[in-house]
Amino acid sequence: MRRSGGGNGQYILTGATGFLGSHVMAGLLRQGRGVVILGRPSQDESLQERIERLLRWFGCEDRAGLCECHETDFLATRLGLGGDAYEELCNRGLGIIHCASDTSFAERNRRRVMQSNVEGLSEILDFAVASGARRFSYISTAYAAGTDQRECPEAPVSAAHFTNVYEESKAEAEGIIARRCREGKVPCTIIRPSVVYGDSVTGRSLRFNALYYPVRSLQHIRDIYLDDITQHGGKKSAECGIHINGDGELYLPIRIFVPHEGTINLIPVDYFTDTVLAIVDRPAAETFYHVTSRNPETLATLVSYIERFLNITGVEVVIGPSGADEMKNPPEELFDHFIRLYRPYMADRRIFTREHTDGATGGALPPDLSYDIFQRCMAFAVAANWGQA
């Protein structure tokens, strides 16, 4: 374990091994800030090893000296830290950026998600108060706004209905954090990004869920039928009307059912990182910040990108409910099943105001998702085998 430098700009960071947290870590390090990382080891690696691996991925090995790792358990008393370490960290009074989160949408994981995202706040908030933290910044989600209203202000959540347990847990967490920080006189900032994808400039990403998952699903389904046609005579493909057309594209008749018109709100991770760093360093004028796009994409646009990227055709967006009986072929049924957890985000009608964010960033907006950016990100994902070993 190393002691970090960085003076007043130093932060305590949780969730540094996750997608968003790791980018925040790299952003801070690139600014020459010291980062005290609180996190867990994995089955095979210590926290230190996990961080070193990430630093290599970010090309920040030379900043390793700015990192200080403490293996912690957010559910354990005093974070599971030894008495001396806890006291010593407390005495530093650093700002805290809390990125750690369980991102499962699955209802069957409700207990785990609530434990991690809600119950797991207690000790880190106690620590923030005990240490007189400079600021407690929490990475939430724009979708903590719930489903009760279309216009979502940068304000406390008032919704009672959510798409999934993840959103619900984040909303509950926001309330707890705001209250505990108010009581403990710790300035608090709640940052709500929408759906985050890879780096818009390099295309790089560490995680390949969200935007990537439907693309990856379609790529695998495409490959199944390409194999069937090229290796096995194409009988199964023909049964579904799947064929290679005159332009060499695979005609893959798949309808994507969405309940209504809407858009998908996407931001690249480089924009997310820059914005978070701008917000956390800002004097505590506001509490809530939406890190979202003003020009969310339509699903139709995304489908056109996907078709072009995968050299397929036949994918169609259908407005209206899908029913199992309506599934016209096996790939359509499987794809529909694969995307069911993401469907609410594909036709979203919520509008996220972002005056506070604009104020913090001087109005810097995320780039629109062009085909070039899309292609760059997906090409990286394919080259990285979608993160599979």
């Binding site: 990856r216 389904i221 096996p330």
Partner: protein, 616 residues
């Protein structure tokens, strides 16, 4: 050790070459001469003994060697089970004997004696012998707890009267004996330095459908009996296909996944005939007969030789099918299995682990290893509960909220196994795993997609089988029954593949379906074997008696030719035995199969619910 000798010494003694389970025909000399010595199993032992100069070339040794016509059928059968090719051994045996004779060697004649003459008088000249070449093939099995014992005589009686006369003669000369079925229990029970009475000639099967029973002779193998029953649209509950039914009941009481509904021990038969130690013949239904329905917790001696049994027949409906219900944990699988048993859903129920599933379905070791990884790591399947039932039972499973691999999916999966191990699209299952890992099985058209993705075919499945055997295996897997879970569970021709990589020693206990207790004992079995560096794995669990109890099998594996591993196995078995005894004493509900040995005709209730200390 050269490869031929290695093959010979690795014969598992599962007796699968004594039944025509592939429909390729039996070894002709074995079917004619009946002594195990004339089957590939016996020839493997015989060659190993000759190569190591443990016995001389005898007259019957010459006969055994020369009666092999090198038809190659044993390659099909043995490769199917163990991936070994015995034909190389058969050739070597013939070569060894021929060279010996060509060099002027003289085949040793067995010396006759008065006892042998007496035995031959009873059973006929061909069916009693003291030739060392034959005796050797009855002298050992891979059990690490049993010392080899060379019998003075091997006798093959042809009737109950002959058994009785043989027993009387042996008793009159104070010659100990062991009765032998196919010896496929491989627990060292069927050896004696006196005489071995091989019952393999008594193969009568007589159906009495009006009374739902079939009378079987002691030489009838499970596979052959099931085949005869199925031809009549009926079913019997039998276990390993090469096990002789009477011997199997006697040895430990037989059980299978069908025991979930058909029971075990005395549930299998209506009556049975025995030859007692004095040569007297009695039937269990006689009021004055010894009480074999009772049970005593002690290492019991054989109560007599079972010379026939009236086995129960069971009806079969034309809508039976199988469901393989996947689970991520043993606890989830146990809950479901117990629920089915208590609600009497399904005829056969078994909680299977990854080792069984992958080994059973795969024609080669290499594929089995890859399949095991794919099931565990990619499909997230740690356990599967097999349920066989009619359409109402299968519908109930869906209504209970479970997705499962049905008959069609099982066939697709089995014939597409090689593709499954390399399928990139399985990566998508990671994402599903977070939500409902097996929900895809609920999609109506998933089987069609799986067919496109896996391109299942017999040719694909046997892709890494030895090229010479591949055409036969391709034809074999084109048969519907080879991917029919109902048929496969009735005939159990796949289960002997458990011993493909190494000989398997099974540890069996009966206990309540108590998740905590089972998980704990499962962990202890593993811990013991791991400590001794032995390959081990969970076997299976089958509920019995409406889910009040279950049969739990855990498996230890050993190299039967590695003295060090044999020694470690002995130590591990001793520790496992002590562990079982401890649980038996502490719980009063854990029962060890050890005490069923030679008491398999007892009522299951006498065994399962007997209070510790014999207080029933």
């Amino acid at each position: 050790m050269n490869d031929v000798l290695k093959t010979a010494k690795n014969c598992r003694h599962y007796a699968m070459c004594k039944i025509d389970f592939l429909g390729t025909g039996l070894c002709a000399s074995g079917a004619e001469r009946h002594y195990v010595s004339f089957y590939p199993q016996g020839r493997m032992d015989l060659y190993a003994a000759l190569a190591e100069n443990r016995i001389p070339v005898t007259e019957q040794c010459v006969e055994i060697a020369e009666s092999c016509d090198l038809c190659g059928r044993c390659d099909y059968q043995c490769y199917f089970v163990t991936e070994m090719r015995p034909t190389t051994v058969m050739k070597a045996l013939k070569g060894h004997v021929r060279r010996y004779l060509d060099r002027g060697g003289v085949a040793a004649a067995a010396e006759t004696d008065g006892i042998l003459d007496g035995l031959r008088e009873i059973v006929g000249d061909d069916w009693a012998t003291n030739d060392r070449a034959i005796a050797l093939t009855y002298s050992h099995d891979p059990c690490p707890l049993a010392e080899p014992r060379m019998p003075r005589y091997v006798i093959m009686p042809g009737s109950t009267a002959e058994i009785a006369a043989v027993v009387r003669l042996l008793k009159g000369h104070d010659i100990p004996y062991a009765a032998r079925g196919n010896g496929s229990s491989v627990m060292g029970f069927v050896m004696s330095e006196g005489a071995v009475i091989d019952l393999g000639r008594m193969k009568t099967i007589a159906f009495d459908e009006k009374n739902w029973l079939v009378t079987v002779g002691p030489g009838v193998a499970a596979f052959d009996l099931q085949k005869a029953a199925v031809e009549r649209g009926l079913r019997v509950n039998v276990a390993e296909p090469s096990a002789l039914v009477c011997a199997n009941i006697m040895c430990s009481g037989l059980f299978s996944t069908f025991s979930a509904s058909y029971g075990t021990a005395a549930d299998h038969y209506i009556d049975a005939e025995f030859v007692g130690h004095d040569g007297e013949v009695f039937r269990l239904s006689d009021p004055s007969a010894p009480n074999l329905f009772g049970f005593t917790k002690e290492d019991a001696a054989i109560p007599g030789i079972c010379s026939s049994a009236d086995i129960r027949l069971h009806p079969v409906t034309d809508d039976e099918g199988a469901a393989f219900v996947p689970f991520e944990s043993l606890e989830g699988a146990l809950d479901f299995a117990r629920d089915c048993a208590m609600r009497r859903i399904g005829l056969a129920i078994g909680v299977l682990g990854g080792e069984y599933i992958s080994v059973f379905l795969s024609p080669t070791k290499g594929l089995a290893a890859r399949v095991k990884d794919a099931f565990r790591d990619r499909l997230k399947i740690a356990y599967m509960v097999l349920v066989i039932g009619d359409r109402y039972a299968l519908r109930s499973i869906r209504e209970m909220g479970h997705h499962y691999f049905d008959d069609r999916m099982i066939r697709i999966l089995n014939l597409g196994l090689p593709s499954l191990t390399t399928a990139k699209w399985l990566d998508l299952m990671d994402e599903l795993a977070d939500d409902d890992p097996f929900s895809y099985l609920g999609l109506k058209q998933f089987p069609d997609l799986a067919e496109a993705a896996l391109a299942p075919s017999p040719a694909q499945l046997v892709g890494d089988v030895d090229p010479e055997l591949r055409p036969l295996f391709e034809k074999l897997y084109a048969r519907p029954e080879m991917t029919d879970a109902v048929w496969l569970n009735m005939f159990r021709i796949l289960s002997s593949r458990m011993g493909r990589e190494k000989h398997v020693l099974i540890l069996i206990i009966y206990l309540p379906i108590d998740n905590t207790l089972i998980t704990e004992i499962n962990g202890k079995f593993k811990e013991i074997a791991d400590r001794h560096g032995l390959k081990n794995d969970y076997g299976f669990i089958t509920p019995i008696d409406n889910g009040k109890r279950c049969v739990f099998e855990y498996d230890y594996y050993l190299d039967q030719n590695d003295p060090d591993e044999m020694a470690r196995m002995r130590q591990a078995l001793m520790e496992a035995g002590m562990m079982i005894e401890r649980y038996a004493a502490e719980t009063g509900t854990v029962k060890w199969i050890r005490y069923l040995f030679c008491q398999g005709f007892c009522r299951k209730e006498s065994f399962l619910y007997a209070r510790e200390g014999g207080d029933q």
